[in-house]
C-alpha cells in the first residue's frame, strides 16, 4: 500500500498531464482529420487529372486489391478507376518506395486496358534539389507516357524521346531515376495481375 501511495505521489502530475494532453490531441485530430484527408484526396486528384486529362471522376475500386510493397510487406493498393461520363478512360494507382533521400510516393496512371502507361507524378519526395528531384521534371516523366505497362528497365544512355520499356536515367541521379523505375515497375505488374485476376481488365495472354 505504501509503495502504491509513493508511486502516485511521485507520478500523479505525469498521469494527469498525459491524460489531458492525450485528450487535447484527440480533440484536435477529430476536428482536423476530415480536412487533412480531403487535402490528400484533392492533391491526388489534381495530379491524376494532369495525367489523364479526359477523366472527370476518380472512383476508388470497390474490391480490395492486396499487393506486396517493395519492403516485402503486404498492403492494400489504392486503385482508382478514372471515368468520363461513366466511361472508363484509365486507371490510377499509388506506388511508394525508397529513393536516394527517403521515401518517394508516386501516383501512376495507365490507359483503360492497362496496356500503356499514361505517366506518373510525385505525391512526395525528398530527392536532392537540382539533381534527384529532376525526376519531377517533364524531360524524365515524358518517357513514361505511352510506355508499355510492363516491367520497365533503367538504362544509363539512350534516346529519352523514344517511348519503350527502357527509361533513360537522369545524368548524376541514377539512384533517384532507378528508384522511380523500380517503384513503378514493382506496383504496375502486381496491380495489372490483380485487375486481370478479378476480371476488371482483359488478360493479355
Amino acid at each position: 500500500m505504501g509503495k502504491v501511495k509513493h508511486f502516485f505521489e511521485q507520478s500523479w502530475l505525469l498521469i494527469v498531464a498525459s491524460f489531458c494532453f492525450g485528450l487535447l490531441i484527440a480533440v484536435t485530430n477529430a476536428a482536423l482529420s476530415e480536412r487533412i484527408e480531403q487535402n490528400r484526396i484533392n492533391k491526388r486528384n489534381n495530379l491524376a487529372k494532369g495525367l489523364l486529362p479526359d477523366a472527370n471522376n476518380f472512383v476508388p475500386l470497390d474490391v480490395a486489391v492486396e499487393v506486396m510493397s517493395i519492403m516485402g510487406k503486404k498492403e492494400l493498393a489504392e486503385i482508382y478507376e478514372a471515368t468520363s461520363e461513366d466511361v472508363r478512360v484509365g486507371w490510377i494507382f499509388n506506388a511508394a518506395g525508397s529513393g536516394f533521400q527517403g521515401k518517394i510516393e508516386l501516383v501512376v496512371a495507365a490507359d483503360a486496358d492497362f496496356k500503356e502507361l499514361a505517366g506518373f507524378d510525385c505525391i512526395a519526395s525528398n530527392e536532392t534539389p537540382g539533381i534527384g528531384d529532376l525526376i519531377k521534371e517533364d524531360d524524365f516523366r515524358k518517357q513514361f507516357e505511352g510506355a508499355p505497362a510492363e516491367k520497365l528497365k533503367l538504362v544509363s544512355s539512350g534516346e529519352p524521346t523514344k517511348i519503350d520499356s527502357e527509361i533513360v536515367a537522369i545524368s548524376g541521379a541514377t539512384v533517384s531515376s532507378g528508384a522511380v523505375v523500380e517503384i513503378i515497375g514493382h506496383y504496375l505488374v502486381q496491380v495489372k495481375q490483380q485487375l486481370q485476376a478479378k476480371g476488371l481488365i482483359e488478360d493479355g495472354k
Binding site: 502530475l13 505525469l14 490531441i25 484536435t28 487533412i36 512526395a124 534539389p129
Partner: protein
Amino acid sequence: MASNSEARAGIYGDTFLAGLWRENPVLRLLLGMCPTLAVTAAVKPAFTMGCCVIFVLVCSNIIVSLMRNLLKPHLRILMFTLTISTFVTIADLFLKAYVPRMSEMLGPYVPLIIVNCIIICRAEACASKNGLAVSVIDAIGMGVGFTLTLCVLAGVRELLATGAIFEIQILALQKEGGWFVAWAAMGMPVGAFLTLGLMLGLVNIISKGRT
C-alpha cells in the same frame, strides 16, 4: 510604485531583446541547428518553421511555468518532453489541414521540433524558474529571434539558388533571357553550411566590435 512597474517593464524588454541578439538561439547559442540547416532553402518553409517553433515555445513555456512548483526534479525532463510533443503534434496537424503544401515541404522537420534544443532549453532555463509573464515574453523573444535568423538565412539561399525571394522573382535568370546564373549549390546542404558559417562569422565580428 512607478519605479517598480518601470523595473518590471525593463525586465520584460530585456528578456524579449535577449532572444533577438544577445542570446539569439541560432547565432549565439548555436541551438536548433537541424531545422536551421534543413529547411532554409526557401523563405516560405523557413517562415512556417519559425511560426511553428514560436507556437510550441509559447505553449510549452506557459504549461511548464504554470506547473513549475509541482514538478518533481527527476520527472521534469519527461514532463517537458510530454508537453512539447503535444504541441508539436497539434502544430503538425494544423499544418497538414491548413497549409498542406508547407507541411509536405517541411516533411519530417515539423515532428522533429520535439527534439529541438531551443524549446527544452527555454523550458529548463526560463519557464521552470520564472512566472508566466517572463516565460511567455522569453518564448516570444526566442521564437522571433529564431524565425528572423531562419528567414535571413533562407532569403540569402533562395535568392542565390533561384533568383527569387518568397517565390517572387527578383533576379532575371539567364535561362529565361536574363543575366543571373542560379547557384544550384545554395539550395543544397552545402549552401546552408556556407551561409550559416558566414553569418556566424559576421555576428562574431559585430560582437567583437561592440566589446
